[in-house]
């Protein structure tokens, strides 16, 4: 099969959906003339014109508000917030309008917007270009958070998100844009809310997403080869709502769990997943749930600072050994 990188897969999804559905529009900072700060919207302006592909000023609140309004009128806006850190500028629009419109107006309207944003650490870009924001939105009913980790999922989940009738925050980990994988040429939509077992195993369940998923797979590979520990690695793919059934089925099988997420530990999505495991599979647990997160500090600039804070395969392997060694 043909190979694309993550960025190309997303770009192809946008081209195909805009060609198939005239309701799809794209707006954001530098998305038209430049084709996006990370190149995800390349070629859209030339193909679909300035009415449907719009560069905006540095106005995140207006971008999301405009996306909401256009969605109320039946369009399918895909808005880009260049870096996830900037989403604080439109937090009100997302939390108070996108998330609540369908509910507070009693189903009279939907807000089918997709907010694409580059998240995550690793770019040596410090405090305001490195954060993981999923936990900031976990507590907001009405929102959905999608987070692919492979080019195949990136294309299928973006198409699935555009076709979904709910407001979706679509996280693109910026360290994944250059990663490659097999991607079918035809359009395909992957379901929202469905995780995937990326590596079957029997000793420990490891739940991860985005870049950390790859770290989890690397750790699992090494643990299998060197220590004969069999990890079952689950890619969340959708963070809200996360796929309880897939996680719980695996936990019931292994009895040991490591949850991996790149955001700071306190109040991260790992806390919520952990709580669900306690509520629904407590008797199946052979060890306390272990969490692998960033330290509870901001992402600093000097590489040594960032590397000390962000988890990697070594941290994951250490956590796996800890739940294995618990008796």
């Amino acid at each position: 099969m043909r190979t694309l990188n993550f960025r190309e897969a997303l770009n192809e999804a946008l081209h195909q959906e805009m060609a198939a559905d005239s309701r799809v529009i794209v707006l954001g900072e530098d998305v038209a003339r430049m084709g996006g700060d990370f190149g995800v919207t390349m070629g859209l302006l030339a193909k679909f014109g300035p009415d449907r592909v719009r560069d905006t000023p540095l106005s995140e609140a207006a971008i999301i508000g405009a996306a909401n309004g256009a969605a109320f009128c039946g369009l399918r806006p895909v808005a880009e917030i260049m870096f996830a850190d900037f989403i604080t500028e439109c937090y009100d629009q997302l939390v108070n309008n996108s998330a609540k419109a369908h509910y507070m107006f009693n189903g009279q309207v939907m807000a089918p917007i997709v907010v694409r944003t580059a998240s995550g650490a690793g770019f040596r870009a410090a405090y305001h270009h490195s954060q993981n924001i999923e936990a900031w939105f976990m507590n907001i009913p009405g929102l959905t958070i999608v987070a692919p980790s492979t080019p195949y999922d990136a294309k299928g989940l973006l198409i699935g998100s555009i076709r979904d009738d709910n407001p979706i925050i679509f996280l693109e980990h910026k360290m994944l844009y250059g990663t490659t994988g097999e991607v079918p040429e035809e359009p395909y939509a992957l379901p929202i809310g469905v995780a995937e077992v990326k590596r079957p195993g029997s000793d420990v369940t490891v739940v991860a997403s985005m870049k950390q998923l790859h770290y989890a797979l690397a750790a699992a590979e090494q643990l299998a080869a060197e220590e004969e520990i069999s990890c079952e690695v689950i890619d969340l793919r959708t963070i809200k709502p996360f796929d309880k059934a897939t996680i719980l089925a695996s936990v019931r099988k292994t009895g040991r769990v490591v949850l991996v997420n790149e955001a700071p530990k306190t109040g991260s999505i790992n806390a919520e997943i952990s709580a669900v495991i306690m509520e629904e599979a407590f008797k199946d647990l052979k060890a306390p749930v272990e969490r692998v997160n960033s330290l509870d500090v901001p992402v600093g600039f000097a590489p040594v600072l960032e590397d000390h804070v962000i988890p990697g395969p070594t941290d994951i392997a250490k956590a796996v050994r800890k739940v294995i060694d618990y008796n």
Partner: protein, 326 residues
Amino acid sequence: MAADKQTLLDYYRKMVLIRRFEETMEEYAKKGYIPGFLHLGIGQEAAQVGTMANFQPGDYVLPDHRSHGVCLMVGTPTREVMAEIFGKKTGTNGGRGGSMHVADFKRGNVGNNAIQGSTMATACGLALAAQVKKTKSVTFNFIGDGTVGRGEFHESLNLAGIWKLPIIYVLVNNGYAISTRATDAHPLADLAKMGCAYNVPGVTVDGNDVEAVHAAAKEAVDRARRGEGATIVELKTYRWQGHFSGDPASYRPEEEVRAWKEKCPIKRLREKLLAQRMADGAEIKAIEDDVEREIQDALKFSIDSPAPTPEDALTFVYVGREVTGK
């Protein structure tokens, strides 16, 4: 062109309807029938009626924080707006919106919003959709003077300016954002001038003169419909009540309130109708009686209607996805 008798009598009826609606809401809030906050627009009826007389099918309106009246002007039955404020299942939003979120999408009311100025960003999208879909729809965006301080005010005007969005910003300047005077919060007395930086023209009008309001709004709406972009129409008026029903508004001098009550937009139109012999006392009374019947009908409907069920709290969180109950 001066408005004809029938038009003025129509304005009169609508302003009396809004006044009586608001007075009734206040009365029933005090009696304990209405949960939560109630922001009344008594004194601002001309701004609402004069502007909305330009509203056409296919247009959108985003009412402001004090605009039950605007919600009544799109043709939503009075009883459905009132029942919503009572939190009843028969209300526009099934009782889950209340005073601050009345919406009627099929008639173009995209809902008011309790985050001041937040609707200005939404308005950009409604107008953008009109451009993409090539319709002649105009978006009426009601905002207050306090909203001028919000980031969305500036981001949205900027966007409206560069994209020539078909929006009329109805800036209802009632002099106060809760207790803070507009003149203390903003560096210009005429806030319509704020559009200058964004190449959005603005005009400041006596908001208690329904005919002047209508004329200024018409010019702005016509301009938007011609594809020439947005306009700010600032309507100088006054709210008679406190910020919410029950707020004693001790931050305002009594003589100021008295002076504005003298400038009552309803009294003003009634006196004109009588002085120019466009209507006599009997006709005026007939209109007021007719409004009263409408109010009493809506009141009975609102009181008698059922509340939503507890299970209604779990619907419409997501499209096509269930939320688990207790």
